[in-house]
C-alpha cells in the first residue's frame, strides 16, 4: 500500500472551514444580529448548517479514504472486516490488513516567537471527523430548538452569538493540529460557557453558577498549560528531528510511542493534562460546577452536556492517547489514575442523582456519571468504546435535556422541580414523554438501544483488559443509572399531576407547594380539576382527564410546538439508531474501522520537504509494517528503526450475549427495584381511612398497613438513601469540607502568616525604610533645587542653553 492509494477530497482538505464559518457567523450576529428580522438566529443556524454540510462531506470522504487503504476486498465486505477482527483479533492482525490511515494534516504559521512556530491547522482523522459531525449536528438541532425556547428573550441575539461561538470553539479544538490550537478552542469554550450559563445574570444564583463553572474549569486549565509545557519540552527534540515541533499532536503521539520518551515525563505530563480533563469533563474532585451550570438556559445545558464542553476533557485524553497509554502503563496495570477517577466519578455522581428534585440536576449528575464511564473506558484501554460512548451519549443526553426543557417550557410553567411541578405528564406531552423514554432506555443501557452498545463495551473491555475492580464498578454504575433514571421518569411523567403540571397557576404555587410537601398528598384535594384522585395509579390514566386539554394551551400543560419536538424526535431516533454503527451484537463494527486509528508501525519519512503552507502529511506516511500479537507492536515494544507508531494497538473484547448478561440483568433489576420503590413512595393514594384510625382500634391496623407504605418511603428516603447515598454524599462533603478545604485553608493560613511576617519585617522595615529614605532624600534635594524653579521662562531658557553648551563642550572634549 503506498501513499498514492490514499484518497482525499475537497472536504477533507478544507475541513478548517468548519470552525471558521461559525466564528464568522458569531461576528456577523454580534454586529448585525439586532437588525435582522430573526434577531441573528438565522445567521447562527445558517453558519452551523454550512459547517454540518462540510462535516458530512468530510466524513464521507474520510470513509472513502479508509476504504481506499483497506483495499477492495474490505471495501466490498464493509463492516464484516471489523467484525472479523473483533472475533479473531490475533488472526486478523496477523493478516496485516489493518493499515494506519494517515490523517489529513495541514497547518499554517500563526505566529513565531524565539524560533518556534505556532501553527493553526487541521488534523483530520476518524476521531476528529466523528466529533465534527457530532458537534455540528447537535449544535444545529439545539439552535433550532432555541429559536422557540428563548423566543422573546431580552438577550436573544447575544444568546445565539454565544451559542455559535461556543460551537466554533469546540470545532477549533476538535480540529486542532497542535496543542496551542487545542488550548485556543478549549479557552473559547470556557469563555462561552461562562457567558451562556450566566445568560440570565440578573439573578444572583445564575451569575454565581457561571463564575463557579468558569473558575473550576480554570483550575484544571492550569494543568493543561503545565502539561502542554512538559510534553513540549519532552517531545520537541524528537519532533524537530522529524520535521515538526513539540506542539504538533501527531508528533507528540509519535514521540510518546517511539520508546525515546522518558517515562516520568510522560507520566507527569499525562497527570497535568488529565487534571485539565478532570476540570473540563466534571470528573470527581472538580465535578461540582456541572450541576450548578444548570442555571443556564436548557438548550445550553443540552449542548454543554452532550457534544461540547464536557466531552472536551475526554477528547483531550482520547486525542493524546499515546501519552496516557505509555505514561500510565495502561494494559499493564490493574489500577491507574484515569480509571480510578473515572470509576469514582461513576459511583459518586450516580448516588447523588438519587436525591435530586430538579430534573435537570438528575440529568447533570447522570452526565457526570456517564463521563466517568468514558474516562473509565480510556483508563482501561477501551479507547474505541469510550469514544463510541461519546457519540451515543451525545444523542440521548441531548434528547433528555431537550425533553426536560420541553417539559418546563410547556408542561410545568418553567419549573424544573419534579416533586412539586411535574407528574402524570405523559398523556399531555406524548411526544416529549416518548422521546424521553427512548433516551432513558438508551442511557440505562437497555439492549438494542444505543447506550447498551457503547456502555456494555466499556464494561466488557474493562473485564477483558484485566481491570476487574472497574468491571464491577461499571456494573454497579449500570444498576444505579437504571434506578435513578426510573425514579426521574416516574416523577416527571407518571403518577399524579402536581403543582404546575396539574394546571395550577404560578401565584398559587406557594400554597400548592405546602400541600405537596412531606408526603402530604393524601390530605390534598384534587377535586377541582375534575380528577378522581382515588383511582389514580401509575398506569391508571386510561379514561380520565381528557378534558384537561380543554384547560387551554396557556393554563395547563400541553405539547410543545414543532421547533421543540422536531429536534427531540430526530435525537430520539438517533438514540436508538446511533448504536448500530458499532454494535457487535448485530455484527456492525463501522466505528472500529472508521474511527479507531490502527496501532501499526508506519514508515517515518526521512525528508518530506514541506513548504509549511501545505503541510500535508507533516510526518510522512507509508505502508503498514507487519504487526504481531498484543505482546509486541505499537505500545508494547519500541517501533523499528525508521518507523513510528501514532496509536497504541489495543485489544478489543469479543462480544457475547453471555458476557453482556450481568449488566442487562442489573439494568432491569435497577429499573424494577426503582419502579417498585417509586410507586410506593411517590405514587401514594389518597387514604380514606385516615380519620378512622383515631376512632377504631381495628382501623389502626389498616392504618399501620398504609403507613407501611411510608415505611417504604422511610426505607427509600431514609434508610437506602441515608445509608447508601447520604453517607457517600456526606463523605464526599466531609472530604470536601475537611480535606480539600483543609488543604485550601492550610495553604491560605500559611500564606497569611507568611504575608504577616513579610509585612512586619520586610515590608515595614526594609521596604518602607528604603521608601522613606528615598523620599527624604528627594525632598531635601527638591528644597535645595527649589531656587532654580523661578517660574521665569527666560531663566529656564538660559539654563537649557547653558546645559546644552556644557553638553556640547563635553562632547567635543570626548571626541578630540
Amino acid at each position: 500500500m503506498t501513499a498514492a492509494t490514499l484518497s482525499s477530497g475537497w472536504f477533507l482538505e478544507n475541513a478548517w472551514l468548519i470552525p471558521l464559518i461559525p466564528a464568522i457567523g458569531f461576528a456577523l450576529i454580534i454586529s448585525l444580529g439586532k437588525r435582522m428580522p430573526q434577531g441573528g438566529s438565522e445567521i447562527g443556524i445558517a453558519s452551523i448548517a454550512a459547517s454540518f454540510v462540510i462535516s458530512a462531506g468530510a466524513a464521507w470522504q474520510w470513509i472513502q479514504r479508509v476504504n481506499s487503504v483497506s483495499g477492495d476486498g474490505e471495501h466490498a465486505l464493509g463492516g464484516v472486516f471489523g467484525f472479523a477482527r473483533a472475533i479473531l483479533p490475533a488472526a486478523s492482525e496477523e493478516g496485516g490488513k489493518a493499515a494506519y490511515v494517515e490523517p489529513v494534516i495541514r497547518s499554517w504559521t500563526w505566529w513565531q516567537s524565539g524560533g518556534l512556530e505556532f501553527g493553526l491547522g487541521q488534523h483530520i482523522d476518524g476521531l476528529a471527523v466523528m466529533l465534527l459531525l457530532l458537534v455540528t449536528f447537535i449544535s444545529l438541532l439545539v439552535q433550532v430548538y432555541s429559536t422557540e425556547y428563548v423566543a422573546g428573550d431580552r438577550r436573544y441575539t447575544h444568546f445565539f452569538a454565544s451559542l455559535t461561538l461556543f460551537s466554533a470553539g469546540m470545532l477549533v479544538m476538535v480540529l486542532a493540529e497542535n496543542m496551542i490550537q487545542l488550548i485556543l478552542g478549549w479557552e473559547i469554550m470556557g469563555l462561552c460557557s461562562f457567558m451562556l450559563i450566566g445568560h440570565w445574570w440578573e439573578e444572583k444564583a445564575n451569575s454565581t453558577a457561571a463564575l463557579k463553572a468558569f473558575f473550576t474549569v480554570r483550575v484544571g486549565d492550569v494543568g493543561l498549560l503545565v502539561g502542554t509545557a512538559i510534553i513540549f519540552f519532552g517531545a520537541n527534540d524528537w519532533a524537530v528531528a522529524n520535521g515538526s515541533n513539540g506542539f504538533s499532536i501527531q508528533a507528540i503521539s509519535g514521540w510518546a510511542m517511539s520508546g525515546e520518551a522518558s517515562q516520568s515525563v510522560l507520566f507527569w505530563g499525562g497527570v497535568a493534562l488529565f487534571i485539565a480533563s478532570i476540570g473540563k469533563s466534571g470528573q470527581f474532585p472538580l465535578h461540582t460546577w456541572l450541576p450548578d451550570a444548570m442555571a443556564g438556559p436548557t438548550p445550553v445545558s443540552s449542548l454543554l452536556h452532550s457534544s461540547t464542553m464536557v466531552v472536551a476533557g475526554v477528547f483531550l485524553v482520547a486525542r493524546l492517547y499515546p501519552v496516557f497509554f505509555v505514561g500510565f502503563d495502561i494494559l499493564d496495570t490493574q489500577f491507574n489514575l484515569i480509571a480510578i477517577i473515572g470509576g469514582i466519578t461513576i459511583v459518586i455522581a450516580a448516588a447523588l442523582a438519587f436525591v435530586q428534585d430538579d430534573i435537570k440536576k438528575v440529568l447533570a449528575y447522570s452526565t457526570v456519571s456517564q463521563l466517568g464511564y468514558m474516562m473509565l473506558g480510556l483508563g482501561v484501554g477501551a479507547w474505541l468504546p469510550a469514544v463510541f460512548h461519546i457519540f451515543t451519549h451525545a444523542f440521548f443526553k441531548c434528547a433528555l435535556f431537550l425533553a426536560a426543557g420541553s417539559v418546563s417550557h410547556s408542561g410545568s410553567h418553567h419549573s424544573f422541580d419534579m416533586k412539586k411541578d411535574m407528574g402524570g405528564l405523559w398523556r399531555k406531552m406524548p411526544v416529549t414523554a416518548g422521546t424521553w423514554m427512548i433516551s432513558t432506555a438508551a442511557l440505562c443501557g437497555i439492549p438494542f438501544f444505543s447506550g447498551f452498545f457503547s456502555k456494555d463495551e466499556i464494561i466488557d473491555n474493562a473485564h477483558n483488559n484485566g481491570y476487574d475492580v472497574f468491571y464491577y464498578v461499571g456494573l454497579a454504575g449500570a444498576f444505579m443509572t437504571a434506578a435513578y433514571m426510573t425514579r426521574a421518569t416516574y416523577l416527571t411523567f407518571f403518577g399524579k399531576a402536581r403543582g404546575a403540571a396539574a394546571g395550577e397557576h404560578h401565584d398559587e404555587h406557594a400554597t400548592g407547594h405546602d400541600a405537596h410537601d412531606a408526603h402530604g398528598h393524601d390530605a390534598q384535594d384534587h377535586g377541582d380539576h375534575g380528577h378522581d384522585a382515588h383511582g389514580h395509579d401509575a398506569q391508571g390514566h386510561d379514561a380520565h382527564g381528557h378534558d384537561d386539554h380543554g384547560h387551554g394551551a396557556h393554563a395547563g400543560p400541553h405539547e410543545s410546538p414543532w421547533r421543540i419536538t422536531a429536534p427531540l424526535v430526530i435525537l430520539a431516533a438517533l438514540a436508538i439508531g446511533s448504536g448500530y454503527l458499532n454494535a457487535p451484537a448485530v455484527g456492525t463494527e463501522y466505528f472500529l474501522k472508521w474511527v479507531e486509528p490502527v496501532g501499526a508501525e508506519v514508515e517515518l519519512a526521512a525528508s518530506h520537504g514541506d513548504d509549511g503552507d501545505h503541510g500535508d502529511e507533516a510526518l510522512g506516511f507509508g505502508a503498514l509494517a507487519a504487526s504481531e500479537g498484543y505482546s509486541e507492536g505499537c505500545g508494547y515494544t519500541d517501533p523499528a528503526e525508521g518507523k513510528v507508531c501514532y496509536a497504541p494497538k489495543v485489544p478489543h473484547a469479543v462480544f457475547t450475549w453471555g458476557k453482556a448478561a450481568p449488566s442487562i440483568v442489573l439494568v432491569f433489576a435497577g429499573i424494577a427495584v426503582s419502579a417498585w420503590l417509586s410507586l410506593g413512595v411517590f405514587g401514594d393514594r389518597r387514604n380514606p381511612f385516615r380519620g378512622l384510625t383515631t376512632r377504631f382500634a381495628p382501623a389502626r391496623w389498616v392504618h399501620t398497613l398504609l403507613v407501611n407504605k411510608y415505611y417504604l418511603d422511610h426505607l427509600y428516603e431514609r434508610v437506602i438513601v441515608r445509608a447508601v447515598a447520604h453517607p457517600i454524599a456526606a463523605a464526599a462533603y466531609w472530604v470536601n469540607q475537611h480535606i480539600l478545604d483543609g488543604i485550601v485553608n492550610g495553604v491560605g493560613t500559611s500564606g497569611r502568616r507568611t504575608g504577616e511576617w513579610v509585612y512586619r519585617n520586610v515590608d515595614q522595615r526594609v521596604v518602607d525604610g528604603a521608601v522613606n529614605a528615598s523620599g527624604f532624600v528627594a525632598s531635601e534635594t527638591g528644597h535645595a533645587l527649589q531656587p532654580v524653579q523661578s517660574g521665569r521662562v527666560n531663566q529656564y531658557g538660559a539654563l537649557l542653553f547653558g546645559a546644552a553648551t556644557v553638553g556640547a563642550i563635553v562632547l567635543i572634549l570626548v571626541n578630540i
Binding site: S790, G791, G797
Partner: protein
C-alpha cells in the same frame, strides 16, 4: 570649504536666537527667537547634507519646518490666551510656576 560658511551662518543665527530667548521679555519675540534657532538647525542640516552629498539632511530639514510650524501655532495660541487674561505678554510677570 565653502560649506563651512553655512555652518558659521548657522552658528550666528543660533547665538542670536539664544540671546533672544534669554534676554527678551516679550513672548512674541521669544517665539521668533525660537524660530531663529530652529532655522539655524535647518541651515546646519542642509550644510551637512551638502558636505556628505546625501538627501537625508534635506528630509530632516523639512521635518523641522513642519514641527516648527506646529510649535509656533501652539505658542502663539498660548500667547493669545495669556494676553486675554492678563493684558500683557511680558514674560517676567509670568512666574506662577515658581517652585
Amino acid at each position: 570649504m565653502y560649506a563651512v560658511n553655512f555652518l558659521l551662518l548657522g552658528a550666528v543665527m543660533f547665538s542670536i536666537g539664544v540671546f533672544g530667548v534669554i534676554a527678551r521679555r516679550n513672548a512674541v519675540m521669544v517665539l521668533m527667537s525660537i524660530e531663529l534657532i530652529l532655522n539655524a538647525v535647518n541651515v546646519n542640516l542642509i550644510a551637512f547634507a551638502l558636505m556628505n552629498g546625501s538627501a537625508e539632511g534635506h528630509v530632516f530639514a523639512l521635518y523641522v519646518i513642519a514641527v516648527a510650524a506646529a510649535e509656533v501655532g501652539v505658542g502663539l495660541a498660548m500667547v493669545l490666551m495669556i494676553y486675554r487674561n492678563r493684558r500683557s505678554i511680558a514674560l517676567d510677570e509670568l512666574s506662577a510656576l515658581k517652585g
